[in-house]
Symmetry: C2
Subunit: 247 residues, 2 copies
């Protein structure tokens, strides 16, 4: 840690919140306005969710460094070719950011939500943290944005809240749905039919809320039981609020 | 819902984030600057954590409405006298806020962290939501503030993350510690010895991080194994990061 050269730039991992540009923190907006380089993740051919939030706060003068994912998020992680390709992507992104840091330029790597909560930022953080000074700026998570938009008080008193990736298998979903008082299921996409079956089996369908594009203009919130199809974007979520003690 | 009178004021439930005043969202700061009444929870004789964050953003002209808890947070919830007293407190707070709303004044009820995540705001929300228009502004949670301060990537890929109140019994803590990949334990205080024993029994001591006053000036972050005493404030937390897939 002591060998980190102070003439190098500093890396900021900046959370941008759930989607509404006004839900960016004051600290994040100040850093974005001050740094010479802003890096963000996006899919090939798309602007990216982070970039959409960023538009409001990005000064015209800063250098933008898009980091373009090689594949969609729904390719199966067990495919070795996919893992190899992702590894190459992170190595390229690491090199692109390190070039600026070594030249003494601060870099803000922004991401939607919170940087250390299921964020791609973490993959670059572990690759860069031993060579450069890093500061992390937490953000409002996507799940906070969703339960606020749904006006669903999520966890009370002694409630246990579990966050479950929808990529888990049916049996694991049922087990965790039965063990927790409050549940947030993320990464829905093509997993919705499996997730719905697990929620029904765990006896929790009646309180499950489906949220699509929470806090953005395309926001759509319905009871899961009232959603008749199994089409869902990957970044939608399902909320099952806790019912803990309340005087 | 259609009967809510539009001449009444609007209630805003506003999350202020984990402690650093710069981690307030732009939306929250704008609402606080605009409303005529700002209400906040505090203990008798103390300024309150929310009020401390608020100081930076509160205009001198607005009316401040402190809502003073009757007792400390560590009295046992099973005590019927405590439940009765809390119920009276929430009824009084509801009446105080409703008076302003009925007079057409908007009220921002602010709280540290996120309003719908173990927040006292929820107890007033459920009492006021059918009579008044309510808007919820999510905030950065205390746990996001803590893991960012600790620079601990918390949840990766298919990790399950569980939030456990330290008020749970030993057996429940051990069970949940064994079932989740990433764990955040909140509400530590006098529960620390019990929590530590459960973490040891679940075989997770080596990766447990103790965080006190995350993102504030009094911040203190140590490995739990290196913390030799069992003194802890109620609002400290313990983080056990996930170790999920990473290319």
């Amino acid at each position: 840690m002591n060998e980190i050269t102070s003439s190098n730039g500093r890396l900021y991992g900046v959370g941008l919140g759930p989607g509404d540009p006004e839900l960016v923190t004051i600290k994040a907006a100040k850093i974005i306005a001050a740094v010479p380089v802003v890096a963000y993740f996006a899919k090939q051919g798309a602007r990216g969710k982070a970039r959409a939030i960023l538009d409001r706060w990005l000064p015209g003068t800063c250098l933008q460094l898009p980091l373009l994912y090689p594949l969609t998020t729904e390719t199966h992680f067990c495919d070795p070719a996919y893992v190899r390709e992702l590894r190459g992507f992170y190595a390229d992104a690491e090199a692109a950011i390190a070039t600026h840091l070594l030249a003494g330029r601060d870099v803000a790597l922004v991401c939607e939500g919170d940087p250390l909560f299921y964020g791609s930022f973490m993959h670059l953080y572990v690759r860069l943290k031993d060579r450069f000074r890093v500061e992390i700026v937490p953000g409002v998570t996507g799940m906070s944005g969703c339960w606020s938009a749904a006006k669903a008080p999520m966890a009370w008193g002694d409630d246990v809240l579990s966050v479950l990736p929808g990529t888990l298998g049916h049996a694991a979903l049922v087990r965790h749905l039965g063990a927790a008082d409050a549940v947030v299921i993320i990464k829905i996409g093509a997993n919705l039919a499996k997730i719905r079956a697990a929620i029904v089996e765990a006896g929790r369908l009646s309180s499950a809320i489906y949220v699509e594009h929470g806090t953005s203009e395309a926001e759509n919130i319905v009871l899961l039981a009232a959603k008749t199809d199994d089409h869902a974007p990957y970044f939608s979520s399902i909320l099952i609020p806790g019912q803990g003690r309340r005087p």
